[in-house]
């Protein structure tokens, strides 16, 4: 490793940058699959890799805590929930009667890509307000914990309340109904 690869702060970003591109390849590829796969089960599996990749981004961006949270809640919770949904509602006979991707496919792609174009244009043309220097990642789990029971106590409580209400609402919605 030559000296040019090490910046003033003694930080070497080669590994991180390589990791970024690797993760990007995984994320874009798997997200494309999640969007276009004909089989819904395949799409769900692809989403699994997308979510893992996004967790990688979080680690790269300096929050290992959020990365772990992403893996635990998204991959461990939400994705499993989706799989259950697939299993509970899938009827193999219906699967092939129409194409999974409906007749709006072209229109959807066109509209979404145009919107993406707008986004990209905005991204590149905005003079972003930047930090004076990229901050060095620091251990932040304990600090997050302290903030959650400090300044962010009210949002935390509200979030807890929301979770409870969701639980009740979900249970209410899927209760055994009299027909």
């Amino acid at each position: 490793m030559s000296n040019e690869l090490i910046n003033a702060a003694g930080q070497n970003w080669v590994g991180a940058n390589l990791a970024f591109w690797f993760i990007t390849a995984v994320v874009v590829g798997s997200a494309t699959m999640a969007a276009f796969a004909r089989n819904i089960v395949q799409a769900a599996y692809a989403l699994f890799f997308t979510l893992l990749g996004v967790a990688g981004y979080f680690a790269l961006l300096g929050s290992s805590f959020l990365a772990i949270t992403q893996v635990v809640i998204y991959v461990g919770g939400i994705l499993v929930l989706l799989m259950f949904g697939v299993l509970l509602t899938n009827r193999p006979l219906q699967e092939r009667t129409h194409g999974e991707l409906g007749r709006y496919l072209i229109a959807a792609i066109a509209g979404a890509v145009l919107l993406g174009g707008v986004l990209v244009r905005v991204v590149f043309s905005t003079p972003w307000k930047m930090a004076p220097a990229p901050a060095v990642p620091v251990p932040e789990t304990a600090a997050i914990g302290r903030m959650l029971v400090g300044n962010y106590l009210l949002p935390l409580e509200l979030a807890g309340m929301l979770l409870l209400l969701c639980l009740l609402g979900a249970a209410y919605l899927v209760r055994r109904q009299e027909r």
Binding site: N17, L66, T89, E100, A135, M147
Partner: protein
């Protein structure tokens, strides 16, 4: 600091910049939107929504990392905190959406969204 904004990881002394992350987030967003619009299966739509939410969290994190709020006392850790709350909201959303899907499935025998158009004129 324009270097950092537009860094694509080619210079080893500078990490990948803000725009790269925003671009990835935009791609994820577009793909999620396509999934939402094109898929017939309601679970597919849910997958699309998850992609969109992930794009949003990436944006939050990127702006936090590069936007200077990290060092500013009031905004310290605001990125991960928003991320945590967003993930939490996504969990709520998934739970309720799935409950609605199951309820639909009980009532209509299908979750093909095109087959469910009772609201049609």
């Amino acid at each position: 600091m324009n270097e950092l904004v537009n860094s694509w990881g080619l210079n080893p002394a500078i990490p990948v910049g803000l725009n790269a992350y925003l671009l990835v987030a935009a791609i994820l967003f577009v793909l999620g939107l396509i999934a939402c619009m094109a898929r017939r299966n309601a679970i597919g739509i849910l997958i699309g929504v998850e992609l969109i939410i992930n794009a949003a969290i990436i944006n939050f994190m990127a702006f936090w990392r590069f936007g200077g709020s990290q060092t500013d006392g009031s905004g310290a850790l605001v990125g991960p905190l928003f991320g945590v709350f967003l993930i939490l909201l996504a969990a709520c959303e998934a739970a309720v959406a799935l409950a609605i899907l199951l309820s639909l499935y009980f009532n209509f025998g299908t979750i093909e969204v095109d087959s469910i158009h009772q609201m049609e004129r």
